[in-house]
Subunit: 230 residues, 2 copies
DNA sequence: AAACCATTGTGAGATATATCCCGTATAATC
DNA sequence: GATTATACGGGATATATCTCACAATGGTTT
């Protein structure tokens, strides 16, 4: 990773939230903001490490993960362009990352000084309101995952995950998974072997096609049905 | 349920967030705020219903639940005094409750007009910042539940839930469960029968004692160990 | 090209827990 | 107080999925 530029005012990828900032405020943001690039596989920040930054994904896909029972990884979600990560750190006395973030494609990430971000929130209620909006989009997603993961059997969880990739993450139909089977397993809380077997079953029944990491959803209706009925 | 009073300025239970409001702003809040009481078991608001209010729990315990696969209930969490419910509705174009809220003890609830709440957020960044704080306390909790529920076996999930009640909800040791076995089951995503069996097992091994709905945690260390190791 | 490591596919046995069952106990309603 | 509905306890069977083991493949580095 290496630093690139430092201009928020001219940034051509302003978030909804940043769009409501005044020029003066954009200047403040710029003060505490620096952009870095990460290669596929690189760690952006680590669970438990002290956090003095909030990060913004300018480009790329990032997995958020957390150590669970017996130190097993659990992937909370795949975030992408336009997401703020680590706003949690504003809150706590202990400024520690609650999860790790790892680039799963080459990515551009802005690091925003946490004090700076906090000041902007205090100053500008409209900015804060926008930030709250993005937070809740996330939260809805976590509710759904919680319900789905707890109530569903594997078929349903995997179907759900495939549709999540297709509709919320990559938003295209043949999509590149960018994850290993082991990672998919830690996304739905199962074993690598089960993911293998199930994906094969989905292939055999003509619901999806796989070629390397490229997945094509052939029968979206069927998948939706499995997602709903389990 | 019946309406009681309408004064936020004099409210003796101001949230951290409301504490930062000016007198003028408190007046605005009061305009759009009304307090109601609910009896144990009464529905406060229903998933999917149009929502023009954000609610604040002044007193009591409330379960938040959501319909999942095959219309089975899933309990997202138990909220209590001091929590805001339904801030999500600020966000969406579709103002629909994302979950149902039901009083599990007699409760006092303030209904705050959503437009009014939104205006305060816009006006006062400090207020917004406090609100963001409370949102993230919740989110942390959901992360933990997600990881725990997905990776753990039943023993771990139940241990986790018991400690959740003891440390985060009721914050006392012999505590009143206020939930049926069926509800506990839908909290950890299992069947009523399994909850029965497991609680009995915990009793037989001297980890807890139960008398009606009153639960006493006898061996907190052991329970913590089960929570961690599964 | 060879050697290496990470990733994957697949089989067989072990196991946790869901489901179905019915009898009982408790709480709610008239 | 009688009746009804809801909550609870516990046994037997079925099944989804984990685990372990080993082979195969792919990608990367020297």
């Amino acid at each position: 990773m290496n630093s690139v530029e430092r201009s928020c005012t001219d940034c051509n990828l302003k978030s909804n939230a940043v769009a409501v900032l005044s020029d003066k405020e954009l200047g403040m943001l710029e003060e505490g903001c620096s952009k870095l690039t990460f290669k596929k596989g690189e760690l952006i920040f680590k669970e438990g490490a002290p956090a003095s930054y909030i990060t913004f994904i300018r480009d790329g896909f990032v997995k958020l993960s957390k150590k669970g029972v017996g130190n097993r990884d659990f992937i909370l979600s795949i975030s992408k362009k336009g997401a703020y990560l680590g706003i949690q750190n504003l809150n706590r006395k202990s400024h520690e990352n609650y999860f790790s973030a790892t680039a799963i494609t080459n990515s551009e990430i802005c690091f925003i000084n946490i004090g700076c971000f906090g000041k902007l929130l205090q100053r500008n209620g409209a900015f804060a309101t926008e930030v709250i909006s993005t937070i809740f989009d996330d939260e809805m997603h976590y509710f759904d995952r919680l319900v789905n993961n707890v109530q569903q059997h594997l078929h349903g969880r995997l179907a759900n995950t495939l549709l999540y990739f297709r509709n919320d993450v990559y938003i295209e139909n043949p999509f590149n998974l960018n994850l290993t089977k082991t990672e998919v397993a830690s996304l739905i809380g199962t074993s690598r072997e089960s993911v293998s077997r199930l994906l094969k079953e989905f292939q055999d029944t003509g619901i999806i096609a796989m070629e390397r990491k490229k997945i094509t959803i052939l029968d979206e209706e069927k998948l939706e049905e499995i997602k709903l009925k389990g």
